[in-house]
């Protein structure tokens, strides 16, 4: 098998071989080996957290990752920021006729690696093949099931003026890494996507009994959009401090050339944490112990003023409103 044919999605022998020799073999799950219509999972006495996400990134391989790593990490992070531990994943694939079987193998191996790193199991899946030209190589949908960490409850409604805003590292790496490899761009950069599962970092932070109020991963729309979502309709505002926001030189340079603002560029391995001021130093210390939190820092705080708005204190000391991303044209990045 060197390319994907329509028959690989037809339900017949070829599909069975693909499922057996690629998916079941690579994902290596006892649930999958049963070849049943659904996985039967045991979760006792806990609140279940369930999410789904689809991934259509172009190009499918980019510096620092690929669509497989993204599909596993992104969904795991959606579970984690709720204050939950992810356990099980599904893998729904839509393949384009003619897609390289070798690239498919690479993507599947990458999914398995990311799932293993975050102690999650891929327990069910589905594959469809569409006519050439009707898809774009590979689209992946992953759903995940997790369980809430006992005694943890995160919500915007717990946020109070004075709370600190923390981020676990440099912003904009993912969006720029993907864009730099886009056809017609082909910039020479050393920027790698930050795509990574954050469940270990978040799990550890939440097990320390600190007053974490709320968390969210600033993916599409970037940090600016996520912060706006946090304070939208609330009785508090957020003040960001431009010089505290970690942005790599390479990302800055790329953004300068293209007229982007790093605050609006996508991340896939970042979490914004709103935490009670008194607990914030301890939280930073914990996060910094993890490789995915090495460059963590405070980027702002929750204010009584400017309710519902995000205000940036610029590097030159002036203030401006940071709005949600709207109408800007950024290509497919996740």
């Amino acid at each position: 098998m060197d390319t994907i044919l329509l028959a690989h999605g037809s339900g017949g022998k070829m599909m069975h071989t693909l499922v057996k020799d690629v998916f079941v073999k690579e994902f290596d799950s006892s649930h999958l080996r049963k070849y049943e219509d659904s996985a039967v999972l045991e979760i006792i006495d806990k609140k279940i957290v369930f999410t789904t996400d689809s991934y259509v990134v172009d190009p499918i391989f980019f510096p620092g990752g690929d669509i497989g790593k993204l599909a596993v990490s992104g969904t795991i992070n959606d579970i984690s920021v709720m204050g939950a531990v992810p356990h099980f994943l599904s893998c729904g694939l839509i393949l384009e006729e003619g897609f390289s079987a070798e690239e498919l193998q690479k993507v599947i191996k990458s999914m398995k690696k990311s799932a293993d790193e975050s102690s999650c199991e891929i327990v069910t899946g589905d594959t469809k093949v569409v006519d050439k030209g009707k898809g774009d190589k590979i689209f992946i949908n992953t759903s995940a099931i997790g369980t809430m960490i006992p005694d943890v409850s995160l919500s915007k409604k717990f946020i109070e003026p004075g709370d600190m805003i923390l981020i676990n590292g440099f912003i904009g790496d993912h969006g720029i890494a993907v864009l730099s490899k886009r056809k017609g761009m082909e910039f020479e950069t050393s920027i790698k996507s930050d795509v990574q599962p954050l469940n270990k970092l978040i799990g550890d932070l939440l097990s320390n009994g600190l007053s974490v109020r709320f968390m969210r991963d600033p993916t599409r729309g970037g940090v600016a959009t996520t912060l706006n979502e946090i304070c939208d309709g609330m009785e508090f505002g957020i003040e960001l401090i431009e010089e505290k926001i970690p942005v790599r030189e390479g990302v800055k340079g790329f953004c300068e050339i293209l007229g982007f603002d790093p605050l609006y560029v996508a991340n896939e391995g970042k979490v914004i944490i709103v935490i009670k001021r008194e607990d914030s130093d301890k939280a930073l210390e914990i996060i910094k112990k993890f490789p995915e939190g090495r460059d963590a820092d405070f980027i702002g705080e929750v204010t009584r003023e400017n309710a519902g708005r995000v205000i940036l204190r610029t590097i030159i000391g002036s203030h401006r409103i940071v709005d949600m991303l709207s109408g800007e044209q950024l290509p497919r990045i996740c």
Partner: protein, 360 residues
């Protein structure tokens, strides 16, 4: 980052602001920033909060997407409906509404419209699709024109038969002249566009100082640049002694970029051109010279529907500095970045987009 951080230095900004406040003695000082990139930078860095209340900054006609009239957008849309045509364009034009549609809408209906980052990529697409007609939408001021000229020259050398340019290019100095002549707004000085001036040099603005007695400073785009340029303008106004000064010396030379200018002159010649909200400005556009006329998209016959203007949209008045987005009944209500009614809301350099994004 070198050459960036120094120009975003808080202390220097504060010092400049202090000096501006001390020196701005005239009761009301109105300055026009001609270029859309200046408008965006002024908002992004909150420059207005550094200025005393007697200095007003007005946005001018320097956003290339914004000044492109419906007639030109309608023509691009008409071309895109031809089955054999591939339209190539900079991203900003994609969502700009014409009389009845946008290129984005036409794409969703099946037109082949591709966003490129350079006209060179458009020529590449023409090479890859020899049985199709590739039309590049030539939008932009002096900053973009040389690369388009170079591409057309390249197309001639390589004997391309399927590459065309719909030339909607515009020139900045004639537009400034119209703003001055109209007398609709009293302007004391101009913050002149840095990027355009890299190509043109500073000499092209002499008439503003000499004939109209207005301050003229070519400015860079960082906060220190803009504040320093404003200070230079204030000094000219105080002394009532006007000349073209160059604040952006690290990029702009008095003579400009001679090679780029020669390329422009070889391929293009001036022609009267329509500007949105302003009308026809003599000698403010460009057309292909006879030697290169084979690449003119106007050689391809196409039926364009009659132009219709949205009577409520005041982009034209905003471009002339007569009104601001806050005077528009559509602004922020019906006209939003995600559903723009006029070009000033679409372009990343548009005044409405800047007001919406940073001001509201």
């Amino acid at each position: 980052m070198k050459y960036i951080d120094e120009f975003r230095d808080r202390k220097v900004c504060e010092q400049l602001a202090k000096e501006i406040s001390n020196r701005a003695i005239k009761k009301d000082i109105t300055l026009m920033e001609v270029c859309g990139t200046h408008t965006m930078a002024i908002f992004r860095y909150g420059i207005k909060s550094f200025l005393p209340s007697n200095i007003a900054l007005l946005s001018g006609p320097g956003c290339p997407v914004c000044v492109t009239p419906n007639s030109e957008i309608d023509k691009a849309i008409a071309f895109s409906r031809k089955e054999e045509v591939i339209i190539t364009t900079f991203g900003d034009m994609f969502k700009v509404p014409g009389s009845r549609s946008t290129l984005a809408r036409e794409k969703s209906l099946g037109s082949d419209i591709r966003i490129v980052y350079s006209p060179v990529d458009a020529l590449k697409i023409a090479g890859e699709n020899p049985d199709r007609i590739v039309i590049f939408l030539g939008i932009g001021f002096e900053t973009t024109i040389p690369t388009v000229a170079a591409t057309i020259k390249d197309a001639k050398n390589k004997k391309f038969k399927n590459f065309f340019v719909l030339c909607c290019h515009k020139l900045i100095p004639p537009a400034i002249k119209v703003v001055l002549e109209s007398g609709e707004v009293l302007i004391d000085g101009f913050l002149l566009p840095g990027h355009v001036s890299i190509i043109t040099g500073t000499g092209v603005y002499k008439f503003i100082a000499k004939n109209y007695n207005k301050g003229c400073v070519v400015s860079g785009f960082e906060p220190v640049d803009i504040l320093q340029a404003i200070l230079m303008l204030v000094k000219q106004i105080n002394e009532d002694n006007y000349s073209v000064e160059n604040q952006y010396t690290r990029s702009v030379k008095e003579e400009g970029n001679l090679y780029a200018k020669q390329l422009m002159n070889e391929v293009f010649e001036p022609v009267d051109s329509e500007w949105r909200g302003i009308g026809i400005i003599p000698g403010s556009g460009l057309k292909l010279k006879e030697k290169y006329s084979q690449f003119d998209a106007n050689n391809i016959s196409v039926k364009v529907e009659p132009v219709e203007e949205n009577p409520e949209c005041i982009c034209g008045e905003i471009l002339r500095g007569v009104k601001t987005p806050l005077d528009c009944s559509l602004f922020g209500v019906e006209c939003l970045p995600e559903n723009p009614k006029g070009p000033c809301m679409v372009s990343s350099e548009g005044t409405c987009a800047a007001f919406y994004k940073y001001g509201k």
